[in-house]
């Protein structure tokens, strides 16, 4: 169950999308998500769908893994859908006992679903095809200008990459602790809400202790290798744009301008 958490996971494969410059992918996802929320019409959604399908196809990632990413938020999604469906006012389409379903409600739900699902797919596509190191390299490059404003860009991206790196470790740790406590006959799934929250204590405390211990170890290991932040630090792999990267930028520009024009016309 815990292994369904796929945020920040990398799917090793050799595809065009994997080889793209991480900055390109970063910009792409940013603009893509922006466009999803800016232009909410049928044509732009169709375009977005086509783009997504093409990207998934070229990334050589089994659809199974993309769908896995939804599992954790599935309940949330269903909940918002129903809330939105039943409480939105407007032209009544049909009535079901005390609940009324309105035209506006249905349209809103479609908007929400498309946006959230596409957002998740696009961002998990980004992390599936980009190793955390490359991703943080890209972020560091992109935000480098902020250094002038005294923003510690390197440190922030380093924090992010460590956080990403720690997700699977903590998931594993949680799994282990849950097993250890259930071998002491702990019952996770019974009792009322209050009892269930209390049930988390035997999991959370060892987990926090483990996380702090690991953080401590990591800090020590980094310091003993003379890590001292971004100042004067060089990179082993320097990011360089290639031909396909420019091609993708052009594609992105065409997509965005086209959607914008349609949005303005409609």
């Amino acid at each position: 169950m815990l292994r369904d958490i796929t945020i920040g996971q990398y799917y090793p494969a050799d595809s065009i999308i994997h080889r793209l410059d991480p900055r390109v992918k970063l910009f792409f996802v940013f603009i893509y998500v922006l466009s999803l929320f800016m232009f909410g019409n049928l044509v732009s959604y169709c375009l977005a769908t086509i783009l997504l399908v093409v990207a998934i196809y070229y990334a050589k990632i089994p659809v199974k893994f993309l769908i896995r990413g939804f599992k954790p938020i599935f309940v949330l999604l269903i909940f918002t859908t129903f809330m939105k469906l039943f409480i939105t006012d407007g032209t009544v389409w049909f009535k079901l006992w005390k609940f009324t379903i309105t035209k506006e409600g249905v349209i809103d739900v479609i908007h929400i679903l498309v946006r959230i699902l596409y957002l998740i797919i696009a961002s998990s596509l980004l992390t599936y095809t980009t190793t955390p190191t490359r991703l943080t390299d890209a972020l560091e490059q992109v935000f480098k200008p902020l250094n002038k404003l005294k923003v510690p860009v390197h440190e922030l991206t380093m924090m992010m990459s460590i956080a990403l790196r720690f997700i699977p470790i903590l998931v594993e740790e949680t799994d282990k602790i849950m097993k250890a406590q259930s071998s002491r006959c702990m019952n996770f799934s019974s009792g009322n809400i209050l009892k269930r929250i209390k049930n988390l204590v035997p999991i959370l405390i060892p987990l926090f202790v483990a996380a702090l211990r690991r953080a401590d170890d990591l800090a020590l290991a980094m310091e003993s290798r003379c890590y001292q932040g971004g100042e004067g630090r060089t990179k082993m792999r320097i990011l360089k744009y290639k031909r396909q990267d420019f091609f993708v930028y052009i594609l992105l520009a065409i997509y965005f301008v086209f959607s914008l024009i349609i949005h303005l016309l409609l």
């Binding site: 090793p12 071998s183 002491r184 035997p202």
Partner: protein, 281 residues
Amino acid sequence: MSIILDKISCKYETDMINEHYALKCITAKIEDGEFIGVIGHTGSGKSTLMQILNGLVVPSGGSVYYNGEDIHEKNYNLYKLRSEVGMVFQYPEHQLFETTVFRDVCFGPKNLGWSKKEIELSAFEALFQMGIESELYYQSPFDLSGGQKRRVAIAGVLAMKPKVLILDEPAVGLDPMGKRNILDKIAEIKAERNCTVILVSHSMDDIADYVNRVWVLDDGKLIIDASVKEVFSHKRDLEEIGLAVPQITSIMHMLKDKGLVVNTNVTTIDEAKMEILRKLR
């Protein structure tokens, strides 16, 4: 009363694509009151096998029978199984969470729904058996030393009065004294309660000193299931899979190579002493 493993196999999804068989077709039977040692190189599937005995990992093939009942039947009560088959994990100190040592040891029995008196009595008994000084009972478990934490965690399992006790490398990472101490305590408890004990260990000497029967795992397969003496007579086979015989046994082998014709089928220091004296007399 017994545990039967019937053609157990178990697979893990390693990264997102690959599968890996951690256990392959393991068949074995554990009788009441046995002291079984499990050895095998790192990643040979020892921990996985132990978790299957406790019902924590569901095997992908085969069945586990506890006292004649399949533990993965739909309406089998896993809580009952876990109350009778106690498991001490690798690094059990990582599971401590309560505010005091005593409360942490009470956690297991509390989950079994015993009366308060029974719980406290059992916790005291377990702490006493593991040799925890009574000043420590009301301290935070996080303030203890590594070895003390380990003993508290083991006491937490013992307090549930298991009929079968599984220990996954209980002495790893401790100094020689602490290690002896824990293993002696376990042997004592076994003698006293007459329970079944399964001990996973990387130390051949510990295995030779404490257990009656040995399982040798290699790459997920149970390749030898025999008495201590017999297992350690397969010196060559063990070395091939990255294991070794107890130090005293290899000393006897060396003596033999040097020309002193001793019987090398010896696993403890006392036996070796007798054998050498017999030869020199």
